[in-house]
């Protein structure tokens, strides 16, 4: 498959169109939605860039925390983690659990809402 323009380049081009051409011609609720759309595309760009590395790091931590197999996929690892927390087998006292959840959530917020105040608190 061709990759010129790449997915990131296409998204960036649409974001520039919204920011520089379409957005300034809108008013009221539509202008608000244009800003939301532009922010959503910024999230898409960060997600495209970081998801693969983030998910690999998350899976490696989960395999260690759950003593799981290297072949387990991320969704089933997280389902198992959720179940173990729900059953009380893992708690906020369990060594490594809060650290794992914090690392995973910091990576997620850095993609979703990098200017969010709670992210600064978590990293301080």
């Amino acid at each position: 498959m061709h990759d010129q323009p790449s997915v990131s380049e296409l998204v960036q081009a649409v974001k520039s169109f919204i920011d520089e051409t379409a957005g300034p011609n809108l008013t009221g609720h539509a202008a608000f939605h244009a800003r939301v759309a532009s922010n959503a595309l910024a999230t898409v760009l960060r997600d495209l860039e970081h998801r693969t590395a983030n998910e690999a790091a998350e899976a490696a931590r989960l395999i260690s925390l759950l003593d799981a197999s290297q072949s387990d996929d991320l969704a089933s690892l997280n389902a198992r983690l959720s179940e173990k927390i729900r059953s009380g087998e893992l708690t906020s006292e369990t060594p490594g659990l809060l650290e794992h959840l914090k690392a995973t959530t910091i990576a997620q917020v850095e993609i979703d809402q990098p200017r969010y105040s709670g992210l600064r608190t978590a990293k301080s």
Binding site: F32, L81, V109, D112, A122
Partner: protein
């Protein structure tokens, strides 16, 4: 509902019904605001008023948590009697008004939007006074006699809310380990309930009318219920409602100790800031599930807007707040 001119004619009739035969409606405009209610500004001569009505002039339809506009109007009047700063309810709509469910109230001047209140110089004095004013207002709200509250109000304490929001979260079948840990922690560390009081349910910037001297009116009573007084105090402390000013625990403008000082001396109790921590964790989880609900409106196709889609990527904000609170609880 009928045509636009029908609506205008109904508003004219309503205006004279509220202000007398000599009053004449000059202008009316829709104010920006929630999808759950329509808010209209009405003016004519020296008279001004706000109309809150159901979207499109419907009647009876409401979400399960909201108490409905007629009950909200009765509650605002009860709050006024209890000394809470609120707009004055001037008229509750009846079928003969022909514009659906709703009520007319006095037009209280000020600002509701968080960012100017938190940033603009004109609100310097307001920001210094607001935490104590909120404490006093909450103490008054919590003295409204439960038996005078409209029967629409539901009863919901901390554990009931955990169960309610856990059910909603599980119905989406999208497991989030941070939510699981917060749910477990909340259940394990649940405090003894306090005597139930009338709780506003959405006491935060956005629902408070503020002028340069501080709080002038508590608005948007549709999520009121019977519950634990600490719920209201903690909700305005949830980090999302600090609008970026995270160092000021109360709403981004004040300190919890000041709010509690005013609350305790008004209500005659001795709540401490550590007693609010559990409720702030619950409030944060609730806001996270509410963001999931709003995203679900997109996922289900009910609301295809980009705004509803994007709010799904704000759930992680509440996850990082929960992590910060869990870490603090274990420090």
């Amino acid at each position: 509902m009928g045509s636009k001119s029908d609506f205008e004619n109904s508003l004219r009739t309503l205006f004279t019904r509220v202000f007398g035969e000599s009053a004449e409606l000059d202008s009316f405009r829709r104010l920006s605001g929630g999808a759950s209610q329509e808010t209209w500004a009405l003016s004519g001569g020296s008279h001004e008023a706000i109309l809150r009505r159901a979207p499109g002039g419907t009647s009876g339809a409401r979400s399960s948590a909201a108490i409905g506009l007629p009950a909200e109007a009765k509650l605002i009047s009860a709050a006024e009697t209890a000394g809470v700063p609120v707009p004055k309810v001037l008229h509750i709509l009846s079928p003969e008004d022909n514009i659906g469910d709703g009520f007319v109230m006095s037009w209280v001047k000020g600002e509701t939007i968080a960012r100017p209140i938190l940033r603009n110089d004109e609100f310097d004095g307001a920001r210094r006074a607001l935490a104590r004013q909120c404490g006093a207002a909450l103490a008054s709200i919590h003295t409204i006699p439960i038996e005078t509250a409209p029967p629409e109000l539901q009863s919901s304490d901390g554990l009931a809310q955990i169960a309610q929001y856990e059910d909603i979260y599980r119905s989406f079948e999208a497991p989030r380990p941070v939510f699981e840990l917060a749910l477990q922690w909340l259940k394990t560390n649940a405090p003894q309930p306090m005597d139930p009081v009338l709780v506003h349910g959405d006491f935060r910037l956005g629902n408070l009318m503020v002028d340069e001297n501080g709080l002038v009116a508590v608005l948007d009573w549709e999520l009121a219920h019977i519950g634990d007084p600490r719920e209201d105090i903690a909700w305005i402390c949830v980090n999302s409602w600090r609008f970026g000013q995270t160092e000021n625990r109360v709403g981004g403008f004040g300190q919890l100790e000041d709010l509690l000082d005013a609350y305790n001396s008004s209500a005659g109790c001795s709540l401490s800031s550590t007693e609010i921590d559990w409720w702030e964790m619950l409030g944060t989880l609730k806001w996270g599930v509410m963001c999931m609900i709003m995203y679900e409106a997109f996922r289900s196709g009910a609301d295809p807007s980009v705004e509803r889609a994007a709010i799904g990527r704000r759930v992680s904000e509440t996850e990082i707040d929960l992590i910060n609170l869990l870490e603090a609880a274990h420090a």
